[in-house]
Symmetry: C2
Subunit: 350 residues, 2 copies
């Protein structure tokens, strides 16, 4: 069993978790990244450098690599890569590689936060009141339907790029125009340009406890479990401290989402609780930066995935967690072997 992480970056804990999951059955963890200094590249059993995801040669090289290294499953950790892999699952399947990525429609609902909002609404899940133009938001303020502070963020976004929390009208105007201005020239511009008049969202900010959910489906999109974490601190757009909590309301919401969305494997969701009600914010159809907090509390999704890939049912205990488990991230240093520079992947000639 060979498992490949693409855009592997700095999620070294996932390499450790999957290596443990392979356990007695044996197998290798491979990693690819565009940078030879990626920490995950250093600690995988075998690693390769590939071009950036938006390079035309990326996909054919990845496909070739999967055949050559007999990769059984791919896990992607990059929002910009998910749609690409989602659209080419069949080619990988023909090479014997399962792409553990949701279908394109699911990724579209998650990546477009306005569609996420509509999805929540359709399922009867609360979400903060949202506007897509500054004029509409200003009218809402004037009519008392929107009050400060508010949230200004890109409709298509990743890792909290450009999120602002204006506390008065002038700051809203400045933040809206600045986010829009910056968005138009970032790497998200390609996506946003599909509807650039509605590329920035203005949302009601509601104070309350923040939660991260791991909503787990199996390889075929069948719902399995939901683990709820209260976020205690954020850093660089990721959960930095969290506690796993017993919250039946959010578990029920997670189940509703998982059964309706039919995503593949993991869905990372952001919720918050305001005056006793739960509100949905975002969904990421992949392992999120908050997954390790569930893992150290007992969730073992890597073990479940390895079982499923072996066409076995997951063990009974892999979805059980110890409530009130608190943990926090800190940094460790990974030495980068300069010899890794030779790892640029070139397909073998057949």
């Amino acid at each position: 069993m060979n498992i490949l992480f693409t855009c592997a970056g700095r999620r070294n804990y996932l390499i450790d978790y999957f290596r443990s999951a392979l356990g007695e059955d044996g197998g290798r963890i491979l990693a690819v990244d565009a940078s030879h200094t990626s920490p995950a590249i250093q600690e995988a059993d075998k690693a390769f450098l590939l071009p950036y995801v938006n390079d035309p040669s990326y996909l054919p090289k990845l496909l070739n690599l999967c055949e050559q290294e007999e990769i059984n499953a791919i896990i992607s950790l990059n929002d910009l890569e998910l749609p690409l892999l989602a659209g080419h699952k069949k080619e990988f399947a023909q090479a014997g590689t399962a792409v553990l990525v949701s279908d394109p429609e699911v990724i579209d609902i998650c990546f477009d936060k306005w569609k996420t909002d509509r999805f929540f609404s359709r399922l009867g899940i609360r979400s903060p009141a949202t506007w897509l133009t500054l004029e509409e938001a200003k009218t809402a303020v004037a009519e008392g339907r929107l009050s400060f502070p508010v949230v200004v963020k890109p409709r298509w976004g990743t890792a909290s790029i450009g999120i602002e929390f204006p506390e008065d009208m002038r700051e809203l105007e400045l933040a809206y125009e600045l986010v829009r201005h910056k968005l138009m020239r970032t790497f998200l511009a390609d996506v946003s340009s599909t509807d650039e008049q509605h590329a920035v969202m203005i949302q009601q900010y509601l104070p309350g406890k923040e939660y991260g959910l791991d909503v787990v489906n199996d390889l075929h999109g069948n719902y399995q479990a939901t683990v709820v974490k209260q976020k205690l601190a954020m850093r660089a757009g990721e959960t930095d401290k969290a506690v796993v909590v017993d919250n039946p309301s959010l578990v029920a919401i997670g189940e509703k989402i998982g059964r309706e969305l039919k995503h593949i494997v993991n869905l990372d969701c952001d919720f918050f609780e305001h005056q006793g009600a739960c509100y949905g914010l975002e969904m990421n159809p992949r392992f999120g930066g908050g997954y390790p907090f569930s893992h150290v509390a007992g969730l073992d999704l890597p073990a479940a995935i390895v079982s499923w890939l072996h066409a076995r049912p997951a063990a009974d205990d892999v979805f059980s967690v110890r409530f009130d488990t608190v943990s926090a991230k800190c940094d460790r240093l990974v030495y980068v072997d300069a010899a890794e520079k030779s790892l640029v992947y070139e397909p073998e000639r057949k």
Copy 2:
């Protein structure tokens, strides 16, 4: 030998480095923080919770704790705490505790980026052209003395709060006003209000390689060594990937700064190279987020500090580094013991 980290936060690698440095001589690493979920609190030999630094009871409690736990030296990792400790070294000295923090004038030069700029100028060190008002900057653009992109950042700042990189005049206006607006209501407002008309800096952006310097002085401010790292990636305002380089020009600049500033122990400096010339950006009079990259390459400042505290010279090899050492940070999870909640420090009655 007991060493205490205040505002210890998530710098667990420093705890490890100092524990190794204590080595055969023995001793304990203690940590205090305002939060029981701080990762450093979990891994110190002994830990206490104290109020926030701006709480009036913070300093007397810390002083009491140092006496009670027989602390030999304090290392602070928080920019907002440095001026407080710098102003009360004598009281701690009377309790037998060396505060390894620079003098108030040094901290003032570092914390006020405009004074840093003047300091560089006085030493003949280049720095990017800088303006303190939007009007002056706009005039400079009109007269061709400033060109886009530019940098907009708080004059008194920490961890890159509110830094913007406008690429045209409209974006400069928006960014300047927004940064100023936000600054006035953040925790930095107290400091900035000393000169709130000049609280935001506009700097010429110059492309080039970025460097971090560890400029090392001894406990009395005598220059010892400079280690230069080229930054390869940033995250959450900290160096995330770096390579230690052989750069005699920057070592010479580090020596000039260390001898003139006479800071205590470590000074973390940001420089960049543009068209063959070195430009100074910022100085932080403490262990910076880039220190571990020097450490894994061979710099052992903790060992030097422990020697100096024992009134011994530092070993010959503690300032030697292996050039071209590349390393990268990644996350690890620290389990937070709920029992730590009982660690709130209450001074014993005498």
